[in-house]
Amino acid sequence: MKAIQALAAATLTFCLGNSDLSNAAPITFNTALPVAEGEFIFRQQIRWLRSGEDPSDGDRQMHVTAAISVLGYGINSKLAIFGVLPYLDKRLQADGSGSKIRRNNRGLGDATAFARYIFHQDNAQGRSFRLAGFGGFTAATGDDDDRDRFGLLPPPLQNGSGAWDRFGGLVATYQTLDYQFDGQLSYRRNGSANGFAMGNETRLDLSWQHRIWPRQLSGGVPGFLYAVIELNGLYQEKNRVNHRRDQKSGGSTLWISPGLQYVTRRWVLEMVVQKPILQNLHGSALENDLIFTTSFRVNF
């Protein structure tokens, strides 16, 4: 049960953790996205996650495909609001009594809404520095009581957590014509549902984008091709089961995420591969192998 709960935490982090903090900008988080007054931004991400490093004897393997839709709107030049809605397809395979057990689920996940306010901005020719605060919540819109022929699905296979979560943080962006740096520090307080609360999370996300094409700028507004490298650090506190801390849960993960991003004035195409370089998970939680994200963004 504890392993399942830990896996639930990892899965939920994959589905929600990065999307509430989103992206010219970074690929694995959304909070640095510039939105002009009265302008909409729509971003569609497809993510594939594979978790297969099972420290238990269960030989578990988890595959999650998520279509994550993000819509942002600039209320004014400082304040923007965002909504995030994931659609999930989850597949878990584990050793049963003499045969493999396969359990699947799909459907809408928990929706997230957040607002960002830029409280400091310093512009000069060809460069910009912005510092903003953000805060929001994740609503329990996904089902958390789906069943299959074996009975109630375990938490990792549920599309929703059943809990309402709150989060907030700071995001900084320094952008020039040649490169861009984004950094985000955030804290998520996870709510409780069905006697279970996932451990609260502290995240540090860093993103560096370097223009590799065109090498020299001439006139007009050409498309920019960026090489991207991101670091995503996550520290998760202990889960709470019936208001008691589960000592075999929580832990920390550090991801390295190389990617490519092609930016035009109306749309952005991007992809990134996230590979854990450090995983210190307590208990028998499934370790993440790989996350591949591809994304399309348009403003209108």
Binding site: A36, N123, P222, R265
Partner: protein
């Protein structure tokens, strides 16, 4: 008699020259009227293609704007107005700030209208 003929010839030439000058001035005047107001706007903070769209969209909302061209390297936007329309600095400053950037410079530039 020859003197009178010379006088008349001279007067005719002068009148002809005056007529030519008048026609030239008239043509110059029409050409000046055909020049539509064009502005060179310097923007601070413009550093990626995706940002340019937000500014262009705000400038297009201004009454009388015909076309907007951005040079991202120079942080410069050329705005051409429709016939007889002009822009005020305060209008432009407000539009640029709505897009999340800062106005660096605002100058009138002349650009000949397309035939």
């Amino acid at each position: 008699m020859e003197l009178a003929d010379d006088y008349l010839r001279g007067m005719t030439m002068t009148a002809f020259r005056l007529l030519l000058l008048s026609l030239l001035l008239a043509a110059t005047s029409v050409s000046a009227q055909d020049r539509e107001p064009t502005y060179a706007i310097g923007v601070d903070g413009l550093a990626c293609p995706f940002c340019a769209y937000g500014i262009e969209k705000q400038l297009h909302k201004l009454d009388g704007v015909d076309s907007v061209e951005t040079d991202i390297r120079l942080g410069l936007i050329i705005v051409q107005m429709r016939h007889g329309r002009t822009l005020e600095r305060t209008q432009v400053e407000e539009a640029i700030e709505k897009a999340g950037f800062s106005l660096r410079s605002f100058e009138t530039a002349e650009k000949k209208a397309a035939p």
